[in-house]
Symmetry: D2
């Protein structure tokens, strides 16, 4: 997925603020859900919430004003947990950030074994 830095995402060191990488990655996951036929918002309406439980992210090379980048995603399942491997890649191929984001599934607020989303996500595993 192609994206681009917006200047309000920079901080006073003229580089993209750390928290905004999580925003880029969240938007990428929501676009992925949409492409898989189950918009995030629709899940929520059906009482199913995919909730982030853990984030591990390495910042390797900072993004700057108006820079274009590619946001990549692959999905793995480990028991009840879904693990999103997400990379932010610069146009020259350099890695800007690399993350492993663990989500669990809640149905009506209760933790499930994660099978709710297997029909939708199964083909990507």
């Amino acid at each position: 997925m192609e994206m681009e830095v917006r200047d309000y995402e920079l901080d006073c060191e003229q580089i993209v603020n750390n928290a905004n990488y999580l925003h880029y990655m969240e938007h990428t996951r929501h676009k992925f859900c949409q492409a898989a036929g189950m918009p995030f918002f629709e899940m929520h309406r059906q009482g199913i919430d995919a909730v982030v439980r853990r984030v591990e992210i390495e910042y390797l090379s900072p993004l700057r004003s108006m820079e274009k980048f590619t946001s990549c995603l692959s999905l793995e399942r480990k028991g009840p947990r879904y693990i999103f491997h997400q990379d932010i890649v610069k146009q020259n191929g350099e890695l800007a950030a690399s993350a492993q984001i663990t989500a669990v599934i809640l149905r009506d607020g209760k933790l499930t074994r994660g099978d709710e989303l297997i029909e939708i996500f199964g083909k990507y595993l």
Copy 2:
């Protein structure tokens, strides 16, 4: 300019938070500066800052999850002030928000008559 709502921009009423419309419009102005041959960041490095002095914005119809929209801009000059007329238009043609944003020009922190940018912006007036 085509854009799309990102879910982190929604607030607890499930509609885009007011402040994010200013972000959309700022990003549109910076893309406009870039297209005009003078990236905002480059201006700043040359000691020229276009600073927002006044915003008038009407919110007409809320944007929702993942909605696509068009961000439109036209430019007017009134003495030392540049006035950006900016509309956010939904895909069905409905107006989501309409704003008039007044900017002034500072050179090395001092207010100028605004002539610095006339070469770049002149063709759009």
Copy 3:
């Protein structure tokens, strides 16, 4: 209400980004609703939404890193509209920003005459 700039609210010109003033002012309104005995979130749960219809804001003097400021609010009613007069004042008494923010009341998504909130807000008018 006393507040303080957080560094992630600065933009690449080292001053607080325009959109964040709307965040400060929104938070002040929500604290005001809470103090008046009707948290915003509780209103929303009762089917009553106060929706911003129009913002007019003047930016007079920029806020900088870690600066402390006072966020002031007074309320006026004009027919169905509630108008919040909101100022951001620096510690030296200088005005950083001054805004007039117009809200209307929706009950279950439909515009009302605004009487829902008169019991709560009446004493502040």
Copy 4:
């Protein structure tokens, strides 16, 4: 450090968006630098930047509208790296989030052994 959820930080599931925890933690680090006698901004002006290299964060219990919380911080040094152990604790003592944030020191853009900040941070190690 005492803080409070602002409603614009909630997302469409009515809980604080993941990225905002990084904002809370960053603000806590910057307040810590200020209290230690070296505001972050002043460091930057002297050519010293503390840059986040890695974040590991667990989300344990979501924060909700207007909730108050305490943001805790302790500091450890491992070779050239400074590791901030940061917890977000609810008023009932429950842990909302727990993170380990690794920063490295750049002088004029080049990685250093981290000794620049030992005078300031030494007493907290």
